[in-house]
């Protein structure tokens, strides 16, 4: 398809074209504004046609491990667009923002109950920014206590965001290997737990889709060492109503509202990455905090220990509305979400364990990892591309890094048995194809709007923006 820049038309009158005079000195004033003029009908057609080249949860099964691609309820979209929410200016002032402040305050109470934490900041815009806030808090906490702690313990199965976050805060990462049951190696952890460790960042259940069996011991040992414990809560969808991270011994947890609480992923965002902390860390949370006084809600900026701010305003408010609706909709039944996420994952695993190598032979949580290494190098990549021809979005591949030819599969609770059966059959059929007709898999996909794309050329001959005459073919 051509790009939007290749149109040149009469534009539509979205605004009345008044004659106004602008008196700006020449050295401030812009000359040419090189944007395309496109008619409304062609803008709508252009982006509608682009959308048809896209896969989403609304299109089909999207078992992208670690991302919790569950169905996004439509009513949540509608209520987030209510004028009272969407047209309220962030500087409106508490007096005029009681509804929005109540929603934020109530959401915080719900999240506290779900996780057992004592306070939440809703400010971080995504999980990675929440991690950053968590490590910032650890850094400030130890600086105030005059303790020199400059290292973070992170298991080798962790998301890349964990070490990347530690690095921003100038903390050195100490990597702990995974043991034979898929847990962080407890012995190696004990050896690494020196007085300069500021924080342990653990994902639970971990990225292998396994509940950390030693989590209580890990947190206890860390605390004895004066180290803070951080839970990467990307996998909260396996813990709702089943266990509370605070009771596991975590001092902090981030939740990805776009994962566990079903706000749409938007083709890569916006998300929302709230941070929960225990009481002794509450003072460090960013300003402003929302407080409730005599049935009125207010902003509290008077937090002398606060680390500061991580967002221009109060966070991705529109996502908070959707997540709040989702949690209120489920209410006291929310445990069913995690139960069925776990059921679906274990069911799918049971259908696939004869076909693929399963690196850790345990019941899984809400997702699981298998290896396609028996089908050769690059098999995970090829299987993923071939799945597109069968009408499925592929799982996450080549992650976690410790499993070769990894396929990381997260079905979520919003899929029925028939979908899982069809997906398992497709995977088995593809492995048969690898034996019988390997080329069809190696050259996949065939049924998508474009064939397999040349990523090497994209990197070696970068073409990152449109310009007239800039056509590579």
């Amino acid at each position: 398809m051509k790009t939007i820049f290749e149109y040149d038309e009469q534009t539509s009158g979205h605004l009345a074209d008044e004659q106004v005079s602008i008196e700006l000195p020449g050295d401030l004033r812009r000359g040419d504004l090189p944007l395309p003029n496109v008619s409304e009908v062609n803008v709508v057609r252009h982006y509608t046609n682009l959308s048809r080249e896209n896969f989403g949860v609304d299109v089909g099964f999207y078992p992208l491990g670690s991302c919790t691609m569950k169905y996004n309820p439509k009513v949540n979209e509608d209520v987030a667009k209510l004028e009272g929410f969407s047209s309220l200016h962030p500087h409106a002032g508490a007096k005029f923002a009681q509804g929005s402040l109540q929603l934020m305050w109530d959401l915080e109470q719900l999240l506290k109950e779900i996780t057992g934490m004592d306070a939440f900041s809703l400010q971080p815009a995504a999980g990675a920014q929440s991690e950053l806030l968590g490590v910032m808090i650890a850094k400030v906490h130890f600086a105030q206590k005059n303790q020199k702690r400059s290292k973070a313990i992170i298991p080798d199965s962790a998301h890349g965001t964990n070490p990347a976050t530690a690095a921003i805060c100038k903390m050195e990462t100490v990597v702990i290997p995974t043991d034979l049951r898929g847990n962080m190696d407890l012995q190696k952890f004990k050896e690494a737990l020196t007085p300069d460790i500021a924080i342990v960042m653990l994902t639970n259940p971990n990225t292998l889709g396994l509940y950390e069996e030693n989590v209580l011991e890990i947190c206890e040992l860390a605390h004895k060492n004066g180290t803070l414990t951080y839970c990467d809560g990307a996998n909260m969808n396996a813990m709702l109503g089943i266990t509370k991270p605070a009771e596991q011994g975590f001092d902090m947890i981030h939740l990805n509202l776009h994962k566990s609480f079903s706000t749409p992923h938007g083709g890569g965002g916006p998300g929302a990455g709230v941070l929960g902390v225990r009481k002794f860390l509450e003072g460090y949370l960013p300003i402003p905090r929302i407080v409730k006084q005599d049935a009125k809600y207010a902003f509290d900026y008077d937090r002398p220990k606060s680390v500061g701010k991580v967002h221009s305003f109060y966070g991705n408010f529109g996502m908070l509305v959707r997540a709040y609706c989702y949690i209120r909709t489920w209410g006291s039944d929310i445990r069913k979400v995690s139960e069925h996420a776990v059921l679906n994952a274990n069911y799918l695993l049971s259908l696939l364990k004869e076909t693929f190598e399963v690196p850790y032979n345990r019941s899984c949580a809400h997702e699981f990892v298998v290896s396609s290494k028996n089908f050769g190098q690059k098999s995970a990549q090829n299987i993923a591309k071939r799945l597109l021809d069968y009408g499925f979005h592929p799982p996450t591949i080549y992650f976690p890094l410790i499993v070769s030819e990894a396929l990381m599969i997260e079905p979520t609770e919003t899929e029925n048995k028939e979908t899982l059966d069809r997906f398992a059959s497709a995977l088995k059929e593809i492995t048969r194809e690898i034996e019988e007709n390997p080329q069809i898999v190696a050259n996949a996909p065939h049924a998508t709007p474009v064939g397999r794309l040349d990523e090497v050329m994209a990197a070696r001959k970068p073409n990152l923006k449109w310009s007239a005459g800039n056509r590579i073919i």
Partner: protein, 125 residues
């Protein structure tokens, strides 16, 4: 040809030539990395200890540390790699060389693996 070249366990090679050492990565290593799309080389004049990270090679899906096979100072880098990182894939022992080092301690060179030893080492993998 492999005789004058010696290797590290991290898959770098070094070759002595006129008091300097030329350094690159092995054919095995470039095959493992796949299509290389960018190379971050050290600054001329910087000093490294043996097996310290001196460069980074990126392929599409991976980013790999490159270790300095010999202690010493960088006296020249292969500027061609900035625009043509694929030279490492095409010609790892020749056009794909990465840096020239002035070695601080020539004994270190003797401690590296010979071509035959390296082939055995790689064969076991």
């Amino acid at each position: 040809m492999l005789e004058e070249i010696k290797f590290t366990k991290e898959h770098e090679w070094a070759k002595l030539s006129g008091g300097f050492a030329i350094v690159g990565i092995s054919d095995f290593a470039q095959k493992q990395l796949g299509d290389i799309v960018s190379v971050e080389l050290p600054k001329v004049g910087s000093v490294f200890k043996q097996l310290q990270v001196m460069a980074i090679i990126d392929s599409i899906k991976a980013s790999s540390d490159i270790y300095c096979p010999l202690s010493g100072q960088i006296i020249e880098i292969n500027q061609n790699l900035h625009d043509h990182p694929e030279l490492i894939n095409q010609s790892p022992y020749d056009g794909g060389w990465m840096v020239k080092i002035k070695p601080a301690n020539k004994d270190e060179f003797d401690g590296l693996m010979t071509g035959t030893q390296y082939e055995e080492f790689v064969g076991q993998k």
